[in-house]
Every structure is written in C-alpha cells, then in structure tokens.
C-alpha cells in the first residue's frame, strides 16, 4: 500500500506540471491543445540526448523546457495561419494546429534522439545532482519532498503570472477574446505566448519523467492530453474551483488522484495497455455529466 501511495504521489507530481499546462490551454485559453502529446516527448528527448552526451542535467532540463515552449509557439503560429476569418470560438483551427504540430514533432523527436529510445542508466540525472548538493540519499520520499517543493514553486509562480497585467489579458483572451481585443490587446500574440508557456510546463514533466524512469521513448507522450484532461476534471470535481489560485492546487491534486487510480488498477491486475481506453472513458463520463444531468432534470 505504501509503495502504491508513494509511486502515485511521485508520478502525480511529475505529471503535475503537464496537468498545469493542460489546464492553462484547455480552461484558461479555451484551446484544446493536442501539441502536448508531442511536447511531453520533446522535453524528454531533448533532455535525454543532452545528458547521454555528457551535458549537465540542469542545462538538459532547461533545454527540454525551451524545446516544449518552441513547440507551443509553433502551434500558436499555425493557428494564426489556419484560422482565416473563423470565429473566436471555432475549435476546428485550434484542434488542427495542435494535431499538425504533434504529428510533426514525432519526426522531430526521432531526429533529436537519433533512435526511438535513449536509456539514462549509469549517468547522473537532475535528482542525483540535487541529492548530492543537499547531501541526501535519494529515497523515494526525499524525491517526493523535492517534487512537492518544485510543484509549489511552479504553482505560485503561475498564480502570480496569471494575475499580472499580461496574465489577466491571457485569461481574458480565453474568456472573451472580442472584449480584450477591443481593449487594445494583441490576442494572437497573447495566445502564442500562452501556448508556449503551457507546452514548456508539459515538456518540464517530460524531462523530469524521463530522468526519473531512466529513459526517454518516442512513444511516451501518446495519450498525454487525455490523461491531463482526466486529471484537470477530477481535480476540479474533488477539490473545487473557487478561484484560479485554488484551482491550480486542485489540478495538481487531480493529477495525484489520477495516478493513484492507475496504480491501484495495475495492482488489481488491469493490463497496462488497457489504461488509455479506461482514461478516455473516464474523460467522456466526466465531461458528459453536465449534459446528462440537464437532460434528466428536464424530464
């Protein structure tokens, strides 16, 4: 039980940055962004190849984050090119832009790594460095504590950012784009930067996950968006959404609950390859509850 709990905490926190990124696009920017399936991998791939080639894990992690940010900005630019006159609430160009970047990233990720899998065994990763710096042995609970500290730092930074002048414009771009445009904000640029930031967070997860599990794999990002959505929705339902500051906690909580569910399912003999279908079903149920509830109440 202890093992299930600690591994769920660890995974939930590692993927928590990704969930924050998905929250930022899906809820704040109103942009269901499929780039994340590719940007998680691009973070992992960039970090892995740099570490394998003997570079510092800190530099490698930063480079992974930067690669994710670039991927997000590309999606924003593609959306700008593809939307041509479509209304602000038209999801077609948004989905297509993300799908195109995600597909292109598959090739790019293979090019970055040079092969489909890079093991990170017998090399120093970021956790070893931090552990050595604090002269701690790397137990799983120490790792969890370090991840909690990092998650809190990122949460508060994001919270602050969303309440800056630019951050408020970003929120308004997702909430009522025509209104903020009529206040003189360049919503195209705002959206591009927002997507960049979100995918930087997703890539951070990819980079940290790769270093924790000891390899980067070209297929590791598949299903990221759906897992992120499941975490966001569960977090909102379980922990509430009274304010943006609070929701940022809720979705990290949702990420942990989601990984806990997965760990428990695996423990009870669910086949790992069945998990994606289960997650998809979970998202369908969660997102359709309001619709179904309305129908039932009316009848």
């Amino acid at each position: 039980m202890n093992v299930i709990l600690s591994s769920a905490l660890e995974q939930g926190l590692l993927y928590g940055f990704m969930v924050l990124g998905v929250y930022l696009t899906f809820r704040v920017l109103d942009f269901p962004d499929l780039t994340v399936d590719g940007s998680l991998t691009v973070g992992a791939a960039t970090t892995a190849i740099l570490i394998a080639n003997g570079h510092s894990p800190f530099l490698a992690t930063l480079a992974g984050v930067a690669a994710g940010m670039a991927a997000g900005c590309v999606t924003g630019l593609l959306h700008l090119l593809l939307k041509s006159g479509a209304s602000d609430t038209n999801y077609g160009p948004k989905l297509l832009a993300g799908i195109l970047t995600m597909t292109g990233l598959y090739t790019i990720n293979l090019r970055i790594m040079g092969r489909s899998n890079i093991p990170l065994l017998g090399v120093q990763v970021i956790y070893d460095k931090v552990g050595a710096f604090l002269s701690l042995t790397l137990t799983s609970w120490n790792l969890i504590l370090a991840l909690v500290a990092l998650a809190l730092a990122v949460k508060f930074a994001l919270d602050w950012f969303l309440h800056t002048e630019f951050g408020l414009s970003l929120q308004a771009t997702g909430d009522n784009e025509q209104m903020i445009r009529s206040m003189g904000a360049n919503t195209q640029l705002t959206r591009i930067l927002g997507l960049g930031l979100a995918n930087a967070l997703v890539a951070l997860s990819g980079s940290l996950v790769a270093q924790q599990q000891g390899f980067a794999d070209v297929g590791m990002g598949i299903g990221t968006l759906v897992a992120g959505l499941a975490s966001v929705i569960m977090g909102e339902v379980i922990f509430g959404e009274r304010s943006i500051s609070w929701v940022l906690f809720s979705v990290i909580g949702g990420s942990i609950v989601y990984r806990l569910l997965i760990a428990v399912s695996l423990r009870f003999g669910v086949n790992p390859t069945d998990l994606k279908l289960l997650t998809a079903a979970l998202v369908v149920v969660a997102l359709s509850v309001p619709t179904i509830r309305k129908k039932v109440v009316r009848v």
Binding site: W160, F161, H163, T164, E165, F166, G167, L168, S169, Q171, A172, D175, N176, Q178, M179, I180, R181, S182, M183, G184, A185, N186, T187
Partner: protein, 269 residues
C-alpha cells in the same frame, strides 16, 4: 490618456461575399465628418449597415474601399487591437463587453490598461482599485463593494453599465456604441442610456451611437444620422433634430428612402 478626436470617413465601402450570389454592399459609399466632441445618433432599419459601420471604424474587417481618419491619423490599415487603444466600444450583447469568468476588478484593470503595454506587474493594484471604486460608485449599482465578484453573477444591466465604464475609463479618442440598450428591459435601458449620456457629456467624448429606438435617437446626441441600404440618407444637425417627433422622423424616412418603410422594432419602442 488621449483627447477626444475628430473622425473622418470618406468613400467607405464594404462588400460581403464578393463575386458570389450572396454579394451585398453593406456599406455603399459613406462620407462623414464628425468634429471632436460631437455625439452622433445613428438610426436605420435592419440591414441598413449601422453595425457594419461600427465594425468598419473599429477595424473588425478590411474595407473594400475608402478611408478612416481619426484625429488626423489615417487608421484604415491599422489592425483592430491597435485602433482599440484609442477607440472604446460598447456592444449590443451584455455578455460581449466583459470577461464573465473574471472578477469586476480584473475586468476593470484590463480596461485601465487600454493605452499601456501589458507587462509583468500585478494587474490589480491598490491604486487602481481606488480608481475603480470611484468610477464604479457613479454607476450607483453598489458594484464598488463587490470588486471580487465574478462578472457572470451580474445582471445584464449591471454588465452593460460596466462595459460602458470599461469603454470610457481610459478616455478614448472615439466611443462606438452599438444598440447597447436593446437587450435590456425598459427601466434598466433608461438607466444605462442616462449613464451613457452623462459620461459622454462629462468627458466631451466624440461618440457614435447606433440605436433602434427613435425616441432615444431624438433625445440624445447633437446630431442624427439615418442609414438605408449602406448609405447615409439623412443627416440632421442639432437645430433641426431638437424639435422633431418620432412621427416626423418616419415621414422623413419615406421622403428620402422613397420606398415602403419597414415598420420594425422602431415603432414599437
């Protein structure tokens, strides 16, 4: 802050769906000079091009022909968000002018930043809050005590009053108002219209107000313009407009438009 500026429109044309069976000239040669500080009411039947004119001035789409000059600057080629730094807008839909999932103070903070770069300083500051309270107090809706309330909790009238405040608080060179009371019940509509007039007068704003309501058009503003089929068919200065009745206006319309007048919502209001 910028001062109210004169607006000059010349040869404005906007053709939608060119080259198709649906081709329509929504604006068919609009020439209009509005001196700084003038408040113009615009009426016209459905489809006469009133809203298209507002969108054209705001830069919502590229023009087919013509130019828009505001305060001596040709803004015809400027994109919508660039012009928005000096043009305030109030829309017909009470949901259009505010961000519903954000708080009153967050919305107002965004409107105070109209002419500024939006950087990485906190958006809502104690100093800005003070300005907001002061501004909200004049709406007389007690919104100054509810700064942290989400806008989606407000009524249509409260939202429209806020939109008005947000459009004008950073002192735009031009205010565009598009049937902003049409979706409100009569009593609230009167309140919002009164506020509009007070703010426009007090700040001496150059303003264009589209309305479906002839009473409103006659009572407010210093000039009245009637549009039909994408053209300005009647342009009355203050001296002529002040003594007209709704009936006279309908008569005028018959004369200039020269065809059966679509008796739409105008008569009912």
């Amino acid at each position: 802050m910028s001062a109210p500026a004169p607006l000059g429109l010349s040869g404005l044309r906007k053709v939608f769906f060119p080259g198709t069976v649906n081709e329509v000239a929504a604006l068919d040669g609009i020439d209009l000079d509005v001196p700084a500080g003038q408040f113009v009411s615009i009426i016209g039947s459905n489809g006469s091009g009133k809203s298209t004119l507002m969108n054209a001035i705001a830069g919502h789409f590229p023009l087919t022909a013509g130019s828009v000059v505001l305060g001596g600057t040709d803004i015809t080629k400027q994109s919508e968000h660039v012009r928005a730094r000096v043009i305030g807008r109030v829309f017909q839909d009470p949901n259009a002018g505010t961000a519903p999932d954000m708080t009153i103070e967050e919305n107002l903070a965004l409107s105070l930043l109209r002419q500024k770069r939006r950087g990485l300083r906190l958006g809502v500051t104690p100093k800005r809050r003070e300005v907001m309270r002061e501004q909200l107090a004049r709406l007389d809706m007690h919104l100054e005590d509810r700064l942290k309330t989400h806008v989606n909790k407000l009524s249509g009238g409260q939202r429209q009053a806020m939109s008005l405040l947000m459009a004008t608080v950073a002192e735009p060179s031009l205010l565009l108002v598009d049937e902003h009371t049409a979706a409100l019940d009569p009593k609230v509509a009167a309140t919002v219209m009164g506020l509009t007039d007070a703010i426009v007068q007090e700040r001496g704003l150059t303003a264009l107000m589209v309305t479906h309501n002839m009473e409103q058009a006659l009572r407010y503003g210093d000039r009245l313009i009637m549009m039909h089929a994408g053209r300005i068919v009647l342009d009355l200065p203050q001296e002529q407009k002040c003594c007209l009745q709704v009936g006279d206006l309908i008569q005028k319309f018959h004369e200039v438009a020269g065809e059966a007048f679509a008796v739409d919502r105008m008569l009912l209001e």
